[in-house]
Symmetry: C3
Subunit: 267 residues, 3 copies
């Protein structure tokens, strides 16, 4: 791996407390050369799947050797394990609650270890803020070059969440769900082009996407192609089909949230 | 220019998604020495003028050579151009939608180029996130020292927004508008001292400022000079007259938003 | 002190304006080697005590030599003084309004100076944004190694807020208050174990904590030990007793805010 000492942070800790800053202080005491990038701290509280997706949309864009620290941890202080995962390009530090499920899915060579080496922890370890006392110190030492083997034994029974998959129903129909909405109210679905490549051919075929009682029949190539009040679809930067509006929130207009189902029929 | 490798970021992307973090990852892969400063990411969605003002209130305070990346981009994926602008001290990267209008107004020597050099883009370029695929890479290469000439040809027909100006009505009266409110509910108007220097002489002359049906007759030199519930004015750090309250929100109290008009009469 | 050039920032400036970014620009012009960590900018406006507590929960975790810049400053532009404080490990820059009260309480060797050396200020000094014009420049020069003695004379009559203390009422009862809530709705009280060590012995003794008409009888060691809808207590990472729920907000459920009183009775 390269010499990058970048540590990214992805949490549901919000920005109205000292939590994130304190973790960075802990890391800097261990590695004064660490450089931080906040991916997101305003994740929905306890939403492990949404957090995992947010991380997945971002982590590949970082330099080799980046340490990705991710914490959405409703089980803090319980028997849930802490893990470090290594892929060909990155290191991840997280609770073992499925937060890295998208990483497991996308990275063929992932190696996961349970963090047990208490010598790296900040003592005394609190019951409620392992971000400060366990995860940040481990990320700090990793960013400084301590080998993953130092932190604990490899495990294979790490926890995976079920990532919702679109279902192909016959030749011309798929069912899927909304995975997340973004700041602009765009609804990011779980439908990637490879599931239904015909939809993304030119010219765009006729189709009907039904969600929350609304029928969407347009696939545009920019948000600004949409007329005022029109709900349409677009192939988003996430690699997934999005349901969206031009300068308005599809999430609000359709009253749709993560988990909302849709059906798409060609022709 | 100096050796600064600072990249500032000003967007309406919010802080509940991966967008800002991902852009920083892209930049760090290009220039590991880049240092980031977030100016603001909670700009009102699609509010190009407000974003331009926020940037204008901040950019002059940075070291020479700073790259200012600004993105409020409702036209992403359409035919709107991407631009890089150079002034004597700074570089700016933005969509060509008027976001840099305050820069054009304040910097006599600005040179603007259309970004066309696709070799610097992240491929494939998405339809919806040019921040990641075009603007961040260009900012990264600029911060690393690539010359602006590399990115495209100079243009002179770049897009300018009309910045609302105060109007002098006769000898003793001006009309103006609120440009923005701040986090504390202070209303920042477009009235600068040079428009009506008499107002800012000592002792403060008698005046009446009428806004949203409220009459303001006091110009104080600190927020804490205001009595409880009193609406007053102050010469703000922005260089503009502000309408404000002591430990309360003038914006909420007056139900005033950007665009609200006021009249100020001396004597 | 060490060579750390870390500057932390704790303010009530919010994240929807240019304020924080501008202060960083000012600091970088003075010290290009400065490294920033945001502790919190979403403090409740004008809540000096809450801000002081947030800072107190974070500052000890930083490397020696860190400059902690803290600004909640409703008195900006009035006669309130600006101060720099030095402890054995840290430097603090803040308005003299009690924001550092927890530092004074915890650091036996604190030395406080009034900032009067205008040669370090950004001119002209505005009436409303001393963060940009006084505090940031002073923090920048401190981070660059300028001695605290340069900024002004030592003072001993610096302003201290009364920090609410729990009261022991007889042998088996204490009264206390909520100091703050956190992002998850946990209520952080002012009750530390040394006030009532019996409560934190094993096995946990019987007790009744009454707050907002609710009786809490459980002290758990992890949030996830709580049943759905149950309000319980925990020894938080802050070192104080917290009143909390599992994946829900105790603050919302109990309609409790900072200042809410509680009584705890053993047996």
């Amino acid at each position: 791996m390269s010499e990058a000492q970048i540590v990214t942070l992805t949490t549901d800790f919000g920005l109205s407390d000292h939590f994130v800053g304190t973790m960075k202080g802990v890391i800097l005491r261990i590695n004064p050369g660490a450089q931080f990038v906040d991916i997101c701290h305003q994740l929905n509280s306890y939403d492990i799947l949404g957090a995992g997706l947010t991380l997945a949309l971002s982590y590949p864009y970082f330099p080799d050797g980046t340490v990705h620290l991710a914490i959405v941890d409703p089980g803090v202080g319980s028997s849930r394990r802490a893990i470090v995962a290594r892929t060909s390009r990155f290191l991840f530090v997280a609770p073992d609650n499925g937060l890295l499920s998208f990483v497991y899915e996308r990275e063929p060579d992932v190696e996961v270890r349970e963090i047990t080496a208490e010598r790296y922890f900040l003592k005394p370890v609190s019951q409620t803020f392992h971000g400060r006392d366990i995860f940040a110190p481990v990320a700090g030492w990793l960013s400084k070059g301590v080998a993953v083997e130092e932190f604990g034994e490899q495990i294979t029974n790490y926890y995976r969440l079920d990532i919702p998959r679109p279902r192909r129903i016959g030749a011309r129909q798929v069912q899927g769900v909304v995975l997340k909405w973004d700041h602009f109210g765009n609804l990011i679905t779980n439908l990637a082009p490879q599931v239904i490549p015909e939809l993304f051919s030119k010219p765009v075929p006729e189709f009907r996407l039904t969600i929350q009682g609304q029928v969407v029949t347009r696939l545009y190539s920019s948000y600004s192609s949409g007329a005022a009040g029109e709900v349409f679809s677009i192939l988003g930067s996430s690699g997934y089909l999005e349901v969206c509006m031009n300068r308005a929130s599809a999430a609000v207009t359709l009253q749709a949230a993560p988990g909302a189902e849709f059906t798409l029929t060609l022709g």
